[in-house]
Symmetry: C2
């Protein structure tokens, strides 16, 4: 298993990427990584114990895509960017997957251009795990496609099921459609038509509509929606969790007495913090491409980036298993 990693595009620079890679390589000796980026900079972040060789390589790239680059511009003008070179390594078959913490639009445009969209898919989608009470829940599309047809939503159902199986090991993922009510007539034409299509397709384990307040309740393993609503839901989750955390901090900081109570409650609050830690959900999959591309959050630290690496590894393993079973079927 060989990953190509864009080490330059994250907000925190290559240091966190190198740390996460060191950690991942130490944990899995069968893993190999090519760090892509400015070679002198990357070398300066290596420790004496980090030996370049079969497990760890550096591929020089002279440019970096910034958050301000328009996707089309990044694609056309920065052909030697760390992002582009990392994706090229997957396109050329040298790497099984690539990871980047860079500009989402530029990464999607680059991935589509280099790897091409799968023949059975109209438009790739962004899939990520959201926190939940019991099960592991994946949602798509999270922002790649603002307007979606019934065909696209149908394809998203299949892509989401693939990711749920690959990453969470769910054999027959339950699929729900995000809607503004659970009753049959709710929503707009596209959603109602998509529901009918899901019901007719025995390959889709469709369980019905789900509303925003029940996303976390073990009603489905995959939530399908258009990229606008999905992005709104994902970011509203982030904002609400941060708001409640701030209110909690305010409540404990209100007086000397409440600060003391906070000191006593601290071990418990740390456990809560660990459970809602967004770093454990880092790593969105660009699904529907001929190749595995994982997008890390721009602000990821080493722990978060490590999670994105693990996501890429699981996606690759599932892809290899699928390819093997297809080959076996043919033989």
């Amino acid at each position: 298993m060989h990953l190509s990693i864009d080490a330059m595009s994250g907000d925190r620079g290559p240091a966190v990427v190198v740390d996460a890679v060191r950690d991942a390589l130490g944990a899995d000796r069968s893993l190999a990584v090519t760090l892509v980026g400015d070679e002198p900079a990357l070398r300066s972040h290596l420790k004496p114990t980090d030996q370049l060789g079969t497990q760890l390589r550096i591929q020089h790239a002279s440019e970096v895509v910034t958050m301000h680059d328009a996707p089309a511009e990044a694609l056309r003008r920065k052909k030697d960017s760390s992002m582009r070179v990392a994706v090229n390594l997957v396109g050329g078959g040298d790497a099984s997957a690539c990871i980047s913490a860079g500009n989402t639009g530029a990464l999607m445009a680059t991935a589509k251009f280099v790897l091409k969209t799968r023949p059975d898919i109209d438009r790739p989608a962004i899939v990520a795990e959201i926190p939940a009470r019991q099960n592991r829940v994946f949602m798509l599309d999270l922002g790649a496609n603002t307007d979606c047809s019934v065909d696209m939503l149908h394809q998203f159902a299949r892509l989401g099921a693939e990711v749920s199986s690959a990453i969470a090991g769910v054999a027959r993922p339950r699929i729900a459609l995000l809607n503004i009510g659970e009753e049959q007539g709710k929503g707009n034409d596209v959603i109602r038509d998509a529901a009918a299509r899901f019901e007719d397709d025995s390959a889709v384990n469709y369980v019905g509509f789900v509303e925003g307040n029940r996303l976390f309740d073990d009603v489905a393993d995959v939530i399908v929606t258009d990229g606008f609503s999905g992005n709104v839901a994902l970011k509203t989750m982030e904002g609400t969790a941060a708001l409640v955390a701030d209110f909690l901090r305010d409540a404990f900081n209100r007086s000397t007495g409440s600060r003391l109570r906070g000191l006593i409650a601290r071990p418990v609050l740390r456990r809560l913090k660990a459970r809602v830690d967004p770093r454990h959900y880092n790593g969105a999959v660009f699904a529907g491409l001929n190749g595995v591309v994982v997008k890390s959050h721009g602000g990821a630290d080493a722990v978060a980036f490590r999670h994105a690496i693990d996501t890429a590894v699981l996606e690759c393993r599932a892809g290899m298993a699928a390819a093997l079973s297809q080959q076996t079927d043919r033989e």
Copy 2:
């Protein structure tokens, strides 16, 4: 100020409504309320100190709209429902506003049929306050209109500003459009065109796009969006807050030690709970009608219902002030 209140349609029945009304009438002697519903049932909830007279009346209605009634059916077949009679009292000019905790779709259909939509508005919208760090934030549409034109979003901006001024007293409310990025080109055609329209209209104090994670950050007083995204955002907030609360409870219940820490932290956690208490946000305004209609949450208790009453009173006061100033302008 005279309110007509549908006392029958909430999940908890008339008892909570009668309690909330008693509380509101005690606090404001200039307020009058007509309770609408089954007269014997309503009388059975009155206390000996609740005197029927000028401040408190009962208007009998023989039917109740249920959560399962389709809006059109409720409108056509239940002409003597507590909901319909309560709205009729506003339509006939006997009451200044009505409040119902019933079926949202039926209430909107009834309100539109009886009160009619304002001549300057295409479609009424549902507006409610969302929790925020500093300022008071109102969002619309929360589910009345799944697909919205640029004209409708433009009207929502005006309606939202009216509600913000009426309820939070903001003189020139800042208006933002919910989007999946803050940069100019983000979103779909309708949103980009709406942004251009808002910028051109000096009556709209437009401040730009806002993403789901910044709704609570004092960037705007009014968030404008279509009813699909608005409903998704609102319910995702509810679900996320409940999820974090559950995780917090789990963390404190994990062991005897953490339960002890929880006992010590309890006064602080109560303060947090009070701050995110959804009862303080109860009462959505149906904006854009010729008359004030406030929708309470179906499961509202007396505290929550009281908040819906206060919302109706503030809306009425603002309406009266506006009518007075128009009259003064004319004289």
